[in-house]
């Protein structure tokens, strides 16, 4: 059996699945239920100063797609709206009751050193394993110069991180916002400020939809809407890219990364690990289906690791990073061709029309005694994969790599006017 236990920047957990700082980790009741369900850790919903913030009614907007009523959420909820002392007392109790689980506390106070100096000892006193600086919240709090307002300015990221590093012995995780042009800037700033780890991504600024009767963005709050933070499976590709970007950056080499953004299955989890994550955070999937999903995450990941003979999570972390390269490093001599398995083909014609209308006219339709068949025109196929993706049948269209004698990258390509001549 694979060992799912992790040591993430000095924070130990029996498995890499942590609940992200969000409504599911808002209070003792929920967190106890999460730990009972088997979660390896939680990042307690962001604490701020008293008096606590006030949240609105009507907080989530849902994205429906393809027959699913919910495939993504955006939220306009702020940080914890409970008194600091209540949270502190609960954190202390929960940590004592579950000493083997990771309990990280998310924090957000105004951008003054004294404010951070004041709150850090309170957290330390709870026995929590670490802190996560919420530099990511893209709505509401950012209008008050916190959250993403810090995360979008590398100098601030570095400064606040340093204040925390200098004022606590707890590991400091800096949570990054994806709402930036270059994720490496705030990530490097965090490291420069002394961060022990980074976590990403926070939610993506979004308008989830427009209520066409009210004519206002959703979720509608008494006739008006505001932008929120988008999360769920749709943000996974964005998150994977950013995690990989940091993992392969020499300036960030070796920094622990807590990966999150759309993780809902063991496969998503494995992909985040492969792109460099050392721990994983989850929220939307739990909000959709409840805490029980952790059992399937653990079971699926460990079965997959057993099958691949990975003994521990650290053996998976970063496995794909060396193969995540710039476009210029890809082999231009490589060729892959679509092949259609006529026996599996159900005759839907989707490959044909996709190729005919939007690609390279490389799939011909034939009528074989009333049964339609489709065939790839090898000389026209550029190996784009589109047909394989639109085909509703698994393994009906396969992309077959062709023999390739030697590698040729763009910097050396004859068509490149600035090519490197040996």
């Amino acid at each position: 059996m694979a060992d799912l236990g992790i040591d993430f920047a000095g924070i130990r957990a029996p498995n890499p699945f942590w609940l992200a700082s969000a409504p599911p980790t808002d209070k003792e009741y929920n967190v106890r239920r999460a730990f009972e369900a088997g979660w390896g850790g939680v990042v307690w919903k962001t604490l701020g100063e008293d008096p606590p913030v006030v949240n609105l009614s009507s907080r989530y907007g849902g994205l429906a797609y393809g027959g699913r009523r919910l495939m993504g959420l955006n939220n306009i909820e702020l940080i914890s709206d409970r008194p600091l002392a209540t949270n502190i007392a609960e954190i202390k109790r929960v940590k004592r009751a579950y000493p083997d689980r990771a309990l990280v506390v998310s924090l957000m106070v105004p951008c003054e050193e004294s404010r951070w100096q004041a709150i850090l000892p309170l957290i330390e006193e709870t026995g929590a394993d670490g802190i996560e600086l919420n530099f990511g919240c893209p709505h509401g709090m950012s209008e008050r110069n916190m959250g993403a307002a810090i995360g979008q300015v590398p100098d601030y990221v570095e400064m606040v991180t340093r204040w925390c590093r200098q004022n606590t012995r707890m590991p400091v995780i800096v949570k990054l916002t994806p709402n930036v042009t270059d994720i490496l800037q705030p990530a490097r700033a965090a490291r420069k400020g002394g961060a022990d780890a980074v976590s990403l991504i926070n939610t993506v600024q979004s308008v989830i939809g427009v209520d066409l009767d009210v004519m206002a963005p959703m979720p509608v709050v008494d006739g008006k809407g505001t932008h929120g933070g988008y999360c769920g499976p749709g943000v996974k590709p964005i998150a994977l890219r950013m995690v990989g970007e940091i993992a392969r950056d020499p300036a960030m080499h070796g920094i622990p990364i807590s990966g999150m953004g759309g993780i809902g299955s063991w496969r998503d989890a494995a992909e985040f690990l492969a792109m460099g994550a050392g721990s994983l955070q989850i929220c939307t999937a739990a909000m959709h289906y409840g805490f029980r999903i952790v059992e399937d995450l653990i079971d699926g990941l460990s079965r997959w690791m057993d099958g691949k003979e990975y003994g521990a999570v650290r053996d998976v972390t970063g496995r794909a990073v060396s193969r995540y390269v710039p476009w210029n490093a890809l082999n231009m001599n490589f060729r892959t061709l679509a092949r259609i398995d006529a026996d599996r083909c159900i005759g839907c014609g989707l490959c044909h029309i996709a190729c005919e209308d939007t690609s390279h006219q490389a799939i011909a339709r034939q009528d074989d005694n009333g049964r339609r068949t489709y065939e790839v025109i090898g000389e026209s196929c550029v190996g784009c994969n589109l047909c394989a993706h639109v085909c509703p049948v698994s393994d009906c269209i396969t992309m077959e790599p062709q023999p390739c004698t030697h590698e040729l990258t763009w910097p050396y390509h004859p068509s490149n006017p600035n090519r490197i001549v040996a």
Binding site: G66, G67, I346, G347, C348, G349, L350, H352, I353, R365, R372, P392, V393
Partner: protein
């Protein structure tokens, strides 16, 4: 002694339950989920399998994106009787049989019929009619027969700006939808509601109680109208060929169904033990409805094997679900009659002969006790009245070429009275296509300065 044939075998509420919608419509959520199963095939096989060529993936996609009006428009544009077709079409041998889902999940095609019903039901709940009449052409067309073919033709002609008069021998329009199909397939007076919906386009007048050859003649119609469309259906029934077949307890299945659809169910008479002879959908409809009216025992007897029955497997299952016993390889030999009262039917057992034709054993048989025999052994074209010129009839059907043209200029035909599958959806296609062909001919006549392409002078009548 009187035969045990009676009405009111069941209570009013039992009857109401029995004849309610056999397969109620999908809810909005159900429709949305089912619609999402559609792969939105290109050049979809289901479209090819639909006689009216409805763009099925497109209308399903429209349902999926919450555009039921758009979906209904796509359906009704191709098939104005899309609502009843959604209910009565044997989709399992048409569109749904060709659904590519069946290649992945055997027996689980996208429920095209149910989705079509969902969209057309939505449309019929709206106040507006989705089509408008074209500019008036001043042309008048007579349609004989207010069944699916006649109605589809009338509607398309109205859309093209023509004036239409539809004649029918019945009191109500609808044809088999109104009088011939099992009530639970078109529950809640659907046939009438659909006719009302269709007529809302305007320009269509219905003349009830008009029989061709009795109240109107083809010659007079040809004189008075610019074109005639014959959608006569099959008004005749084949004979059983047995002695005493005229016994009052031996009834045509079509007449039995027509009677129960023309009056409250409590007035419909049915035997305690019923034998239905035949293997088509009419036989099933009659057998099941006999059960639903309260017959204790209903046995459907077919002369060949199950595989030869024209009733689809789904229809046969439906009969079994309703406790109809199906017996095959048996031919009625004698009606057992005592003092004028039907007592039963004796059958000869059969088996497939060497050439495939059934062989019946005169020595081996069985008797089914019966108070009522319903014969459903096929319908035929009533002889066209001999007076005047008549279109050519061959093998019991009116001969037509492309666009429903008969051998007589200006006379078109379609539906069951012409050759082709006897399906509602085929009748609708025939009517629609004949209308387009009539419209093209009349427009051509106008363009050609009064020269009718059929060689008949335009404007010479009316």
């Amino acid at each position: 002694m009187m035969p045990d044939i009676a009405c009111g075998r069941l209570t009013e509420s039992q009857l109401e339950r029995n004849f309610s919608d056999a397969h109620p419509g999908l809810t909005r959520d159900q429709a949305a989920l089912e619609a999402e199963r559609c792969f939105y095939c290109h050049d979809a096989p289901c479209i090819e399998a639909c006689p009216t060529g409805i763009d099925i993936p497109r209308f399903i996609k429209a349902i999926a994106v919450d555009n039921p009006g758009g979906a209904a428009r796509i359906i009704l544009d191709a098939n104005i009787l899309g609502g009843s077709c959604a209910r009565v079409c044997p989709t399992e041998i048409l569109c749904e049989q060709r659904c590519v889902h069946t290649a992945i999940e055997s027996g689980r095609p996208v429920r095209i019929g149910a989705l079509q019903r969902h969209a057309t039901d939505w449309q019929m709940e709206q106040d507006d009619h989705p089509f408008t009449r074209g500019e008036p052409t001043g042309k008048r067309i007579a349609v004989v027969g207010a069944g699916p073919a006649g109605l589809a033709c009338a509607h398309r002609l109205a859309m093209r700006g023509h004036e239409v008069v539809v004649f029918d021998r019945h009191e109500r329009p609808g044809g088999l939808n109104q009088y011939g199909v099992a009530a639970y397939k078109l529950a809640d007076d659907f046939a009438q509601r659909e006719v009302d919906f269709l007529m809302a386009i305007g320009g269509i007048r219905f003349e009830a109680g008009c029989s061709l050859g009795r109240d109107i003649t083809l010659a007079s119609l040809r004189n008075a109208y610019d074109a005639v469309f014959l959608a006569l259906g099959l008004g005749g029934v084949r004979a059983l060929g047995l002695d005493n077949a005229q016994n009052p307890s031996v009834i045509d299945a079509v007449a039995f169904i027509e009677a129960l659809r023309s009056a409250p169910y409590r007035q419909a008479r049915v035997g305690r033990r019923v034998v239905v002879i035949g293997g088509g959908n009419t036989a099933i409809d009659a057998a099941v409805q006999a059960r639903l009216l309260g017959a204790e025992e209903v046995t459907l007897v077919y002369r060949r094997g199950t595989e030869s029955m024209s009733a689809t497997p789904e229809e046969r299952d439906w009969a079994r679900v309703n406790d109809v016993t199906i017996r095959v390889w048996a031919r009625p030999d004698r009606l057992l009659i005592e003092n004028g009262t039907l007592r039963g039917v004796s059958f000869l057992r059969g088996r497939p002969g060497p050439d495939g034709a059934p062989l019946y054993d005169p020595e081996a048989g069985f008797v089914l006790e019966a108070d009522m025999v319903l014969k459903a052994i096929g319908q035929s074209l009533l002889p066209l009245s001999p007076e005047g010129e008549m279109p050519r009839v061959q093998d019991g059907r009116i001969v037509v070429t492309q666009g429903g043209r008969t051998t007589l200029p200006g006379v078109y035909a379609g539906g069951d009275c012409t050759i082709g599958a006897d399906l509602t959806v085929v009748a609708v296609r025939d009517g629609r296509d004949a209308a387009e062909s009539i419209h093209a001919a009349l427009a051509g006549a106008v363009r050609n300065n009064g020269q009718d392409p059929d060689g008949k002078g335009a404007g010479s009548h009316g």
